[in-house]
Amino acid sequence: MSDTFIFGMEVFLNGLMAGVLYALVALGFVLIYKASGIFNYAQGVMALFAAMTLVGIMEGRVPFSHLINAIFGTHIHHFGWHLPAVFGILFTVAVMAGFAWCVQKFIFRHLVGQEPIILFMATIGLAYFLEGFGDLMWGSDIKKLDVGLPQGINLLIDETTFGWFGYGFFIDNLDLVATVIAALLVISLIIFAQYTKQGRAMRAVADDHQAALSVGISLNFIWVMVWTLAGFVALVAGIMWGTKSGVQFSLSLIALKALPVLMLGGFTSIPGAIVGGLIIGVGEKMFEFLVGPLVGGATENWFAYVLALLFLVFRPQGLFGEKIIERV
C-alpha cells in the first residue's frame, strides 16, 4: 500500500473524529431550531459561557469579583474551595437551566410570532450580551479546564496499526472519548424524545405549535426545556474543546464550525447534523491533506463552507430533506 493511502486513512479517521465534535455543536442548533424555529447564533457563546461557569465553580472563583472589586475597592477573588468535576457539571447544568428560563422569560416570550430573521437577530443580541456577561462574571483570562478526560495518542491503535501497515495511526484519546460521549448523548436524546412524556411533547411542538398548544402542552415549558438541553449540549462541547485549548474567547467561534454542518444536514434533522458533521470533518481534513499543500494550506475554514455550498447548489433540500415542490 502506498504511503499516501495509509496517511490518507489516518487523516480520514481523524476527520471522522473532528466531524463528531462539529456534529455535537450542530446538535445544539438543531434542538432549538426544531422546537422553536429559532436559529440560535448564541450557541457558540453558550458553549464558552458553560465552560467558563464550570471552571469558575470548580475553582471556587467569586463571580463578578472584578466588578465588585472595582466598585467597592475590595480584593476578593476566590472562595477557596475546589470542587470535583461531577459537582461542577451539575451546578453548571443548573446555571444553564436558569439561563434557559431567563432567555425564555425575558426575550423569546416577547417575540412569539415574529419572523425567523428577527428571532435570529435576537440571538445575536443574546450572544453579545452573554459574551459580555460571561467575561464580567468570570474574567477574560484563559482558564485551564480539567475534568479528568484522557488526552494524547491512543497507544493501542498506534501499536495495532503499526503492526498492520508499519505506520502507527494517531488517534487522540480525547477525540475517542468525545465520540463515545456524543454517541451516548444522541442515543439518550433519541430515547428521551421517543419514550418520555416531555420528549413526546417536545416532538409535538416541533411538528406543529398550534396543534401542540391545543392538546394542552405548555409551549413555555417545552422551550425552556429545549434551551436547557441545548445549554447542556453546549456544556459538553465546551468541555471537549476547552480541555484541549483552555477556556477562552475563541471557544465561542466553534459555532462557525457548525454552520456548514447545518447547511448539509438541514436545520431540523438530528441524523442530518451527525452525517453532515462527519462529511464536513472528513471533507475538510482530506482536502487539506490532498490539495492543501498545493495551494498553501490553511484551507479548512473556507473549504467546509464551499463544500456545503456546492452540495446545496446541486441538492437545495440538503441531505435528508425531501425534494421541494413549490406551490402558489
Binding site: 472584578h66 416577547h110 435576537a122 443580541g125 490553511a298 475554514n301 463552507y305 447548489v313 437545495p316
Partner: protein
C-alpha cells in the same frame, strides 16, 4: 402642528414621486445637507473625523449596500467583510498599479470589481434560499479572506502581507495618507455617501426597486407576474457589491490607510454591517444611516462615559459595552422589530397628529 402634510397638495405625479414628499421633511433634509457640507467641515478635528465621522460615513455606504441586498431584495448575506476586502484590495492594486489615474476613479472601479465578484457569489442564490443562503455567503467571506492572505500578488509581495495606502490627492488636496487634512477626508467620503445614497434612493423607488421587493416578499409570485428572478437577484448583488466595494475601498484608502485582511475584513465585519441594518431597519435607507450611526457612536459614547466619565477599568468597560449592546439589540427587537427607521416613522406619525391626537 408644524409637521404635517395637510395643505401640501401634489398636483403632478412627479411631485408625488419626490424623495421627501412632505415639505417639512424636505426643509430638514436641506438643513442637514447644509450642515454636513458647509458647517461640519469647519468644526471637526482629527478625533471627530477619524474616530466618528469617517467610520460612520463609510459604514453607512456599506449598510446601504447591504440593505439593498438584504432589506430590499431579501437575500441575506454574511459575506460583507469579504466583499469589502475585494474593494480594498482592488483599490490598493489600482492605486499602486496606475498612480497616474485619480483616486476617485480607482474607488469607482474598485466598486465595479466588487460588484462582479459579488455577482459570482450571488449566483447560488438562484437555488439556495433563506438561512441556507446566509450560511453559503460565509463561503465567500472565508474564501476571499484566505485568498487575499495567500496570494502575494494582491499585496505586492510585501514581507508581511499588509497593504498600505500611498498618498493621493484630488484637485491638489491630499485625500489619503497621513498628511491628509481631516476635513478633506471627511468631505471626500461625504460626497461618495451622498451620491450613493441618492442613487440607492432612485433605484429603490423605481422599477428595479419594485422587482427587488417583489422577490423579497414572494419570489414565486414575482416570477409569475413577470419578474426575471435571475436578473433581479443578480442586479441586487451587483448594486450591493458596488456599494460595499466602494465602502471597502474608502475604508482602506481614506480611513485606515493600512489593512490586514483577516483582522479588518474578518467575519466580525460582516456581522457588524448586518447588525447596522437590522437595528436601523431593513428596507430603509434612513435606517442604514441610523444603524451605522448607532453602532459607531454607541461604543465610543459608552467608552467615554464609563472610562472617561466614571473612571472604570477599561476591561470592565469593554465587557459592559458588549453586554449593553447585546441587551440593546434585544430590547430594540422586542420594542420595535423593524428598527430605528420604524421607530422614527411612528414618531413622525405621532408628530403629524400633535397636538390633537384624536
Amino acid at each position: 402642528m408644524f409637521y404635517r402634510e395637510a395643505g401640501d397638495f401634489k398636483t403632478t405625479y412627479k411631485d408625488d414621486n419626490q424623495t421627501f414628499p412632505i415639505k417639512f421633511d424636505r426643509y430638514r433634509y436641506y438643513a442637514v445637507m447644509f450642515a454636513a457640507f458647509a458647517v461640519i467641515p469647519f468644526l471637526i478635528n482629527d478625533y471627530w473625523v477619524n474616530a466618528i465621522f469617517l467610520p460612520f460615513l463609510i459604514y453607512a455606504i456599506a449598510a446601504i449596500g447591504l440593505n439593498i441586498l438584504v432589506g430590499y431584495c431579501g437575500q441575506v448575506s454574511l459575506g460583507t467583510g469579504g466583499f469589502m476586502a475585494v474593494g480594498a484590495y482592488a483599490c490598493y492594486k489600482l492605486m499602486t498599479g496606475f498612480p497616474e489615474i485619480n483616486l476617485f476613479f480607482h474607488i469607482i472601479i474598485s466598486g465595479g470589481i466588487t460588484a462582479f465578484v459579488c455577482v459570482l457569489f450571488g449566483l447560488p442564490s438562484l437555488r439556495i434560499k433563506g438561512f441556507y443562503l446566509a450560511v453559503a455567503t460565509l463561503a465567500a467571506q472565508f474564501f476571499l479572506v484566505w485568498l487575499f492572505n495567500r496570494v502575494p500578488w494582491f499585496y505586492n509581495y510585501s514581507a508581511s502581507g499588509q497593504i498600505n495606502s500611498p498618498e493621493r490627492s484630488l484637485f491638489d488636496i491630499t485625500i489619503t495618507g497621513p498628511n491628509a487634512d481631516a476635513w478633506a477626508k471627511y468631505l471626500f467620503c461625504l460626497v461618495f455617501l451622498t451620491v450613493l445614497a441618492l442613487i440607492a434612493r432612485n433605484l429603490t423607488r423605481g422599477t428595479i426597486g419594485r422587482t427587488w421587493m417583489a422577490i423579497r416578499d414572494m419570489d414565486i409570485a414575482a416570477e409569475i407576474i413577470g419578474v426575471n428572478p435571475l436578473k433581479a437577484k443578480i442586479s441586487a448583488f451587483a448594486v450591493s457589491g458596488f456599494f460595499v466595494g466602494v465602502s471597502g475601498a474608502l475604508f482602506f484608502s481614506v480611513y485606515l490607510g493600512a489593512v490586514e485582511v483577516g483582522e479588518v475584513f474578518g467575519i466580525n465585519k460582516s456581522f457588524l454591517v448586518l447588525f447596522m441594518i437590522i437595528i436601523g431597519g431593513l428596507g430603509s435607507i434612513f435606517g442604514s444611516f441610523a444603524g451605522a450611526a448607532f453602532l459607531v457612536l454607541l461604543p465610543v459614547l459608552l467608552k467615554n462615559v464609563l472610562v472617561g466619565g466614571l473612571g472604570w477599568p477599561t476591561d470592565l468597560a469593554a465587557h459592559l459595552e458588549f453586554l449593553i449592546i447585546g441587551a440593546l439589540i434585544v430590547i430594540f427587537l422586542i420594542a420595535e422589530p423593524h428598527g430605528l427607521a420604524q421607530l422614527w416613522r411612528v414618531a413622525k406619525e405621532k408628530l403629524r397628529l400633535w397636538p390633537f391626537p384624536h
